[in-house]
Amino acid sequence: MSEPLLKVCNLDVSFRSRGGETHAVRNVSFDVGVGEIIGIVGESGSGKSVSCRAILGLLPESASVSGRIEYSDQNLLGLDTEGLRRIRGRDVSMVFQNPASHLDPLMAIGAQVSEPLIHHQDASPTQALDAAIERLREVQLEHPEQRVNSYPHELSGGMKQRVMIAAAIACGPGLLLADEPTTALDVTVQARILELLKSLNEQHYLSVVLVSHDLAVVAQVCDRVLVMRHGEIVESGDTKQVIYSPQHPYTQQLIESQPSRMTIRPPVATDTDTLLDVSNIDVEFASPGGGTMRALNDVSLILRQGESLGVVGESGSGKSTLARVVMGLVKPKSGDVKLRGQSILQKRNRLDLSVCRKVQMVFQNPYDSLNPRYSVYETIAEPLERHKLVPATKLDERVAELMGLVELDSSLASRKPAQLSGGQCQRVGIARALAMDPELLIADEITSALDVTIQAQIIALLNRLREERGLSVIFISHDLTLVRSFCDQVVVFQSGRIVESGAVSGVLEQPQKSYTQELLLSVPTL
């Protein structure tokens, strides 16, 4: 192999704060060859983004960085601000996770792509704009001539990410640092952006460092992969080798936690009584520009007792709205929801306890779903107390029992949400729902904000609850592989409609509709 383009040696990063020093990255060394794509994988707090930002000196002032970072024989850590500025955007550039917040909302996108050309190549604004149009064409943004005058808020998430990539490659850099570039995007958009990165790599010999929490994404495009944990590289090597014969126990755990690799044996539903019957639901919302927007269009589905029904679809497809209709949080324009043959839409509005108790919900955002001022104990005890579900003398006992059920240590009872991890918060949310002793649990993207190893634990918990308590579950997720391993039945949503439904084995193995096929093809798997 020829001389590497980027050489990182013994990189150490720590942050000073009032509480002392935190070591974010320890002794990290790797290199990137010309035209190579390497992936850095790790869970939150593993130091993968910090390492990436350290290369371009983009860390906040409180960070102290040591080691060597060489880009074509130049030590980037030894450069002053001006020297570093000359490298940034010209030789090494970067794209970020959230395209919406990384573009200036007040500047037209053409100007934002032109900026590096003006500052690095002394291009005139008109020349730069012409070049910007070319770059936008290269990243496959449609109608670049007209789009240059658009503002970020007028573009979709995927288009914004293309703009950010166009700006990053404007000056023809040798190395592109991509920090979770597809995490905020839908899976079909993610697939196209990954394709784009791959083609830029092939056409321009552009080296890419792809940082991601998703091992499957990295496996799909990278030649080599580094696995990071707690600021250190635990394993590195050829992608295939790392995935098929992982050496480090953490890498093994990471791979086992992948939804496609999870070994879950969902209990087979024996009772075939219909539990929930949703028929012909229409929901309309007033749209901001006036008029109405149809969030759900003639949606019907059936859930039998003990079943686990997966609801999949991309953002805005209406899957969360469906959950809110069943929970009585959103009033449908027409249609009916029946629980064991009895309509519950009207009862919901009158706070009918018999209905509330039977159907419960767990929410997406671990921290947002718990009242920040309530302790774990107070959160779980509140429904028990308020609805007098247990006598006052048995309250403590029952709360402890529920905490045990979701595998929460009893020492956490007095903690507030801010003192808990994301996974612990979700367990509290599940315990709170179980306090009502429900027959049906609606889980709305409950693992989408969690790390993959934590996700695996929560899914295992949910599965155990199904087995032990005969709980029926509506499992809403954007992740098809997760639904495949956890659910018996599945419905696929697109723009407020159900496009396909049936048994998981049928729909996800032999999809009939082209949309389901596209979704399945877009999902990166190991």
């Binding site: 500025r85 200036d104 500052h119």
Partner: protein, 310 residues
């Protein structure tokens, strides 16, 4: 654009209607008979009756409001009992002085606000930031009239640098006479704006797009001017609009201390003399100016920010 402004004007019509109801309703707050309040206890029943007749107080409330609105749309704000002159004429007579003072304050305030705001934000936590913060707290807690009196004593009486009172003659004369009043108001205004600008700048300096701009290799100065400052100007612009409207009303007391013949003095005299139609008319005028200034601020914000729809 014109269509949008037209639509927006449609939105403020109900507000204008509400404003007219409030200023009309003010007179209903007087304990007892307004005419009696104006003339005092010793006036004869006939005299009171005459004033009631002239003010239209003998008609039902709804009809009074109808008449009030009818006059209003013709630009008639009623007549001052004290000055024996239409209120609208009075306002036009006293307005230029207050307008001059307000502009003077703006000219003093804006450059200093921008300078101090940027200075504080860029040196966050250092001594200069602390100093600006401490002085700000002081500026915001000082009673304007107290400060005005102290400055009057020091700079006018003792040092003789500035006139003690009045509006002066000629442009330079106005500038000279109104310097201390304008400074007194600015000392309150600048801290409020600086705090706001500083907070907005700090927030924008930590925004993601700043890191992204840095990753493109743009110079720091350029990022600050083209990206940070522009984004931070939006909230401050809005606050500035609010403060200008405050300014029109807030000069009342400063005008009194420095004996400046502006709207504030007119208001004060009207209050002392129970000249109700002047109080009503002025209140209405103040509210109307507020609505106009808010409209202008919103339009300016929309020019800067493509996301805002009028």
């Amino acid at each position: 654009m014109f269509l949008k402004v037209g639509k927006r004007l449609g939105h403020i019509l109900p507000v204008l209607l509400g404003i007219s109801i409030v200023s009309f309703g003010l007179i209903q707050l007087t304990p007892g008979d307004p005419a009696r309040m104006i003339l005092g206890n010793k006036a004869s029943v006939e005299a009171v009756e005459a004033v009631r007749e002239r003010m239209g107080l003998n008609e039902p409330v709804l009809q009074q409001y109808g008449n009030y609105m009818l006059n209003l749309v013709q630009g008639d704000l009623g007549e001052s009992l004290r000055y024996q002159q239409p209120v609208s004429e009075l306002i036009m007579q006293f307005l230029p002085v207050t307008g001059f003072l307000a502009l003077y304050v703006i000219v003093l305030t804006v450059p200093l606000t921008i300078l101090l705001g940027i200075l504080a934000a860029r040196n966050r936590g250092r001594w200069i930031d602390q100093l600006i913060r401490m002085t700000s707290v002081l500026g915001m807690t000082m009673p304007v009239f107290w400060l005005a009196m102290l400055m009057l004593r020091i700079f006018s009486v003792e040092l003789g640098w500035f006139p003690v009172s009045g509006f002066g003659t000629g442009f330079v004369g106005h500038l000279h006479h109104l310097f201390l009043p304008a400074v007194s108001v600015s000392i309150y205004l600048i801290p409020v704006l600086v705090r706001n600008l500083r907070a907005a700048l700090l927030e924008e300096m930590n925004a993601d797009y700043v890191v992204a701009s840095r990753s493109k290799g743009l110079p720091e100065g350029y990022i600050f001017r083209r990206h940070i400052l522009k984004n931070a100007s939006l909230p401050t612009l809005n606050l500035f609009g609010v403060l200008i409207t405050w300014l029109i009303g807030g000069t009342v007391i400063v005008e009194l201390v420095y004996a400046i013949p502006g709207l504030g003095t007119l208001m004060f005299n009207a209050i002392l003399g129970r000249d109700y139609s002047v109080i009503q008319g002025l209140t209405l005028f103040y509210a109307f100016s507020t609505v106009i200034i808010t409209l202008v601020t919103d339009m300016l914000s929309a020019l800067i920010d493509p996301r805002i729809e009028l």
